[in-house]
Assembly symmetry: C2
């Protein structure tokens, strides 16, 4: 009876824009809080991954896979973090092409300072804004979007 609509309705469009804009607003609010401790979201992502890695070190490519970044993005970011003394780079013993990123003392210290406040911020900005049912629905919606994306 009803054929597949070609274009979104006004309401669907509104929700789409809400989705995009709210995501940006939430990320930017979180970035602002992290910034108070001098970290960007990317910094936190890297520090978290390294702090959880055995020996607090990871091959560049493993780190990239862990955080889901492209190599070159990681390379640029590590360069900036190294300049600030948050990480070090070392050569890889088992593969001369390889590089390892090592959590530096300054990086560990700031991560430990920032981690609990950051988790609290996630609760304040995100978890507390939603009912348990909405939170669950969010999980399902994100899963549906990702699965749909993957089917292309």
């Amino acid at each position: 009876m009803t054929t597949t609509r070609r274009f979104p309705t006004r309401e669907e469009l509104r929700i789409w824009r809400d989705f995009i804009e709210t995501g940006e607003a939430v990320r930017s609010a979180m970035a602002a809080r992290l910034q108070r401790d001098g970290l960007s979201s990317g910094d936190y992502t890297v520090l978290l991954a390294l702090s959880e890695a055995p020996g607090r070190r990871l091959r560049s490519s493993e780190l990239a896979a862990t955080v889901g970044w492209e190599r070159s993005r990681l390379s640029h970011h590590l360069g900036r973090m190294e300049k600030r003394g948050l990480i070090r780079r070392e050569e890889c013993l088992t593969d001369n092409r390889g590089a390892e990123a090592v959590l530096a003392p300054a990086g560990l210290e700031i991560f430990q300072q920032v981690n609990r406040p950051h988790l609290r911020d996630i609760r304040e900005i995100f978890v507390d804004a939603l009912t348990p049912a909405q939170l669950e629905a969010t999980g399902e919606i994100m899963a549906a979007l990702r699965e749909h994306l993957a089917r292309e």
Copy 2:
């Protein structure tokens, strides 16, 4: 009875990360499609606003308000779009400080070419991925997040 939890649970954290990462994935998928026509998301946003404005022109500050951007972001973006011939800048007659952004013929043409495919992409990437109930829930969740953010 139950005091406010200090930190998110594992599950809440998972949903938080899903929310952030899915948002990034969806935006990036959309950006890739627009890119096939040589436009960034920002370009589309500006072209849409201008194409709907009376005379296809807007004062810079009004354009900034319409799309919700900071002035300086808009200024940089308009500079790039002007270089590509998508818009022109003209002086404002009523306020010598002012500048107007005017949709250039090339900008109008590409916008008209891109608009319908873009709307179709929104349906394919976003609307089609969700059930009607999920779509409605998304609207409510985004509203809740924004309202919560505004309360700070």
